[in-house]
C-alpha cells in the first residue's frame, strides 16, 4: 500500500481540547483506518487494538531506545539520562528488567499485602472521620500511594513532595514541546537532580525495593552505575501512574452506583474492577516507538527511523475488540487490555499497582455504602496521562 492511501488528520492529539476530552478524537482515529498519519507531528498513529498490540509486541521492528516520546534520541539529546528500562532495547534492557522484575515479583508483593491492607484501612478511617463530602483525588488517590509506595521503595522522609511534580513533567515531556512542557521546564533540572539524589544507596533504607536493587548490583546483576537509574525508574513510573489509576477507579465507581453495589456484594471483584478501570480510563494514554527498519503494520510501511504513536486508550475502547467498550462493567473480563502495555516493556510495576488498588478498594467497600461524584470534577491536563485534579464525592458510611 502506498503512503498516499494512508488517511491523514491535521488534528493535534496533544492540543488542550483533545487532551481535555480525547474520546471523540480517538473514535475518529480508529474509524479512519488501521494506520493514520498525523500531519501535526509527522508520525503514523494506531488507534485500533490489533495494531496497537502488534506494535507493542514488535520490539525488534519498533524500538524504545530512541525514546518513547515524540523526541527521537537518534537526532535529539534527551532532557534527562534515558531510562534503562522504558527507553532501552535488548540486550541493554535485559539486565535492568530482570532485576526489577525480581524486586517487584509476586513473592515480594505477597509479603506487603497485609501491611498495605492495614494502611488502606487506616487511611479510609481517617477520611471517613471527616465530612461526608471530600475531594477523592488528594484524600485517597494521592494520599494512599504516597503513604505506602515511597516507604516500600525506602525513601527518606525529605523531598517526597517533589515526586508528583517530577512525574507530571516526565509524562508531559513524552509529548511535543507545547505549553504543558514549557510550564514544567523551569523546575525540571532541579526536580531531576533531587529525585536522582534520592536514588543513591545512602539515601535509601535497608529493606525496601531500592535496597533490593542495590543488592542486585552487589551481586553483579547490574552495575553500580546502573543501580540509581533503576531505582529512579520506580520513582518516575510508579507514582503518578497509580495516583491516576486509583483516581480512575474511584471516578468509575462514583459515577456507576450499581457497580459499587456489585463490588460491595463481592469484594473479590476489586482486582477485576481496577483492571476494568485501567481499560476504561487508560491512565497512560499513549507511547511512541521508532522503526528500526522499514516495518509493515496494518498494511502500511513505517519508514526506518519513523516515529509511531500508539493510542493505548483508543485500543482499550476499540469496538472491534470489546463489546460495549464505553461501559464500565465489572461483569466484563478486561484481560488483554493494553493499559499496562504488552510484550517486552509491559509494566513491570503492574502487580504493585493492583495490590495498592485492591487494598484501597477492599477497605472502602467494607466501610462505604455509597459513593457518588458531585459535579464534573476537574481534569489535570497531561501529554501522556489521563489525569484528574479533583473528583468531589459524597459518601454514606456503611
Amino acid at each position: 500500500m502506498s503512503l498516499a492511501a494512508v488517511p491523514t488528520t491535521t488534528v493535534d492529539p496533544f492540543s488542550p481540547e483533545v487532551l481535555a476530552d480525547p474520546l471523540p478524537f480517538q473514535e475518529r482515529l480508529r474509524e479512519a483506518g488501521p494506520v493514520v498519519y498525523l500531519t501535526s507531528h509527522g508520525v503514523h498513529a494506531f488507534g485500533r487494538h490489533e495494531q496497537v498490540h502488534a506494535a507493542l509486541t514488535n520490539w525488534q521492528g519498533l524500538q524504545s531506545g530512541a525514546g518513547v516520546g515524540l523526541s527521537n534520541f537518534r537526532l535529539e539529546k534527551p532532557w534527562r539520562p534515558p531510562s534503562l528500562l522504558l527507553e532501552s532495547d535488548p540486550p541493554r534492557h535485559d539486565a535492568p528488567r530482570r532485576v526489577l522484575s525480581a524486586v517487584l515479583g509476586p513473592r515480594v508483593l505477597r509479603s506487603l499485602r497485609e501491611r498495605w491492607s492495614a494502611d488502606a484501612e487506616a487511611l479510609v478511617d481517617e477520611v471517613l472521620a471527616g465530612p461526608d463530602e471530600f475531594d477523592a483525588v488528594p484524600a485517597l488517590a494521592e494520599a494512599f500511594p504516597l503513604r505506602v509506595f515511597p516507604d516500600a521503595v525506602g525513601l527518606g522522609p525529605d523531598g517526597r513532595e517533589n515526586l508528583l511534580p517530577y512525574g507530571n513533567h516526565l509524562f508531559n515531556a513524552f509529548g511535543p514541546a507545547n505549553a504543558l512542557v514549557e510550564a514544567g521546564r523551569p523546575r525540571a533540572p532541579e526536580l531531576g537532580a533531587r529525585v536522582a539524589g534520592q536514588c543513591a544507596r545512602e539515601a535509601l533504607s535497608g529493606d525496601g525495593f531500592g535496597a533490593a536493587v542495590w543488592a542486585a548490583a552487589d551481586r553483579g546483576e547490574i552495575t553500580p552505575e546502573q543501580a540509581p537509574l533503576v531505582v529512579r525508574s520506580l520513582l518516575s513510573a510508579g507514582i503518578d501512574t497509580t495516583v491516576h489509576g486509583l483516581a480512575a477507579v474511584l471516578h468509575a465507581f462514583a459515577t456507576h452506583p450499581a457497580q459499587w453495589r456489585r463490588l460491595r456484594e463481592r469484594p473479590q471483584l476489586a482486582r477485576v474492577a481496577f483492571d476494568e478501570a485501567v481499560r476504561w480510563q487508560s491512565p497512560v494514554q499513549t507511547f511512541f516507538r521508532t522503526a528500526t527498519r522499514d516495518v509493515e503494520i496494518g498494511g502500511t510501511v513505517i519508514p526506518d527511523g519513523g516515529k509511531v504513536l500508539m493510542f493505548l486508550g483508543a485500543a482499550n475502547r476499540d469496538p472491534r475488540r470489546w463489546a460495549d467498550p464505553d461501559a464500565f462493567d465489572l461483569g466484563r473480563d478486561p484481560s488483554g487490555h493494553v493499559g499496562f502495555g504488552m510484550g517486552l516493556h509491559q509494566c513491570v510495576g503492574q502487580h504493585v499497582a493492583r495490590l495498592e488498588a485492591e487494598a484501597l478498594l477492599t477497605a472502602l467497600a467494607a466501610r462505604v455504602a455509597s459513593i457518588r461524584q458531585v459535579g464534573d470534577g476537574e481534569r489535570q491536563l497531561n501529554n501522556t496521562l489521563r489525569a484528574w485534579a479533583s473528583i468531589p464525592v459524597r459518601v454514606h458510611r456503611a
Partner: protein
C-alpha cells in the same frame, strides 16, 4: 518426554527458536529421539522459555565452552558483540569435527580460540584464568570436570565473577499429562475438568470462573493463582527453581497439573 535445551538462535528473529542437540549415546533417549525420529514438519510442544543463565553487564567477558556447552554461550557472544564489550571465547572439544557452530564462530576471528583436544590437549585454564580481573565476568558451560576445574581456579576471583551452567540430567518430573485433570475451587466450591487441549485459564473461563490475565504466555504474572493442594506442572517464564519447587502458586494461562487433581484458591 520433556527436555530442556538452550536456545541458541537469534532473538531479533521473532519467528524461530533454534536449539543445538548433541546425540548422547548413553543418554536417556531425548537426543536420540531428536536425531532419529524428529523430522522437518513435525510439531513439538514447548513450555515458556526460561533464562537461568543471564548475561550480566560487564566491560569484559571470558566465555569458556566445553563441547555442546557452546549452545547457551552463542547468543551471549552475539550480545557481547552488540554491547561493544571486550570478549574472548575459549571453546574446547574432542575433535574439530565434533565441535558444533565453528563456521558461525569463524566470523569473530581472533576473539575465538578453538581447542580441539586431539590437536591441542585440554584448555589451558590457568593461562586464561590465571590473574583475577575485577572488570571481567567469566561464563562457563560444559561437562562437569571442566566446570569443577574452572570453579577451583575462580575461587581466587572476586565473588560473582564466575557464572556457570551445568549440563546435568536434571531430575525430570513426570512427563506432561495427555489426559484431563480436575481443578477444585476452594473458595467458590465446584470442580472444573481441564482437557488436554485447553489451558487451565480457558477451562475456568468456560466454566464461568474469571481469572484476570494479560499476556497468556506465562510472562507477565497477572494470572498468578495460589495452589492449595496438588502438584502444578510449571510452564511459565517467571518462577525460579526454588519457587517452582515450593509449588504454592502457578500461572494458570500456561501451567498445568502433574497429578489428577489441583486445588486452587479461587
Amino acid at each position: 518426554m520433556t527436555r530442556q535445551y538452550s536456545l541458541c538462535g537469534n532473538r531479533w528473529d521473532a519467528e524461530t527458536y533454534r536449539v543445538g542437540v548433541l546425540r548422547e549415546v548413553a543418554g536417556r533417549g531425548g537426543s536420540a529421539y531428536v536425531h532419529d525420529v524428529l523430522a522437518v514438519g513435525d510439531l513439538v510442544g514447548l513450555g515458556g522459555p526460561r533464562n537461568n543463565f543471564p548475561l550480566v553487564p560487564a566491560s569484559r567477558y571470558l566465555f569458556v565452552a566445553g563441547g555442546i556447552g557452546i549452545t547457551p554461550l552463542l547468543p551471549m557472544v552475539h550480545q557481547a558483540e552488540l554491547l561493544g564489550a571486550d570478549w574472548t571465547l575459549v571453546y574446547g572439544g574432542r575433535t574439530r569435527g565434533s565441535m558444533a557452530f565453528l563456521d558461525e564462530l569463524a566470523v569473530h576471528g581472533e576473539r575465538v580460540h578453538v581447542v580441539p583436544q586431539d590437536e591441542c590437549g585440554l584448555i589451558d585454564l590457568p593461562r586464561w584464568l590465571g590473574a583475577p580481573d575485577p572488570a571481567t565476568k567469566v561464563y562457563c558451560c560444559g561437562p562437569g570436570p571442566l566446570l569443577d576445574a574452572v570453579e577451583r581456579i575462580c575461587a581466587a576471583w572476586p565473588p560473582f565473577a564466575l557464572r556457570t551452567e551445568r549440563f546435568v540430567a536434571r531430575e525430570q518430573g513426570a512427563p506432561s499429562r495427555t489426559t484431563p485433570f480436575d481443578v477444585e475451587l476452594a473458595r467458590t466450591g465446584g470442580t472444573v475438568t481441564v482437557p488436554p487441549d485447553l489451558s487451565v485459564l480457558e477451562a475456568l473461563g468456560k466454566a464461568g470462573v474469571e481469572v484476570l490475565s494479560s499476556c497468556r504466555q506465562g510472562l507477565c504474572g497477572t494470572c498468578e493463582t495460589d495452589v492449595l493442594a496438588g502438584l502444578p506442572e510449571h510452564r511459565d517464564s517467571i518462577l525460579d527453581d526454588a519457587e517452582r519447587a515450593a509449588g504454592d502458586c502457578m500461572f494458570v494461562c500456561v501451567s498445568r497439573s502433574l497429578g489428577d487433581r489441583l486445588v486452587l484458591d479461587l
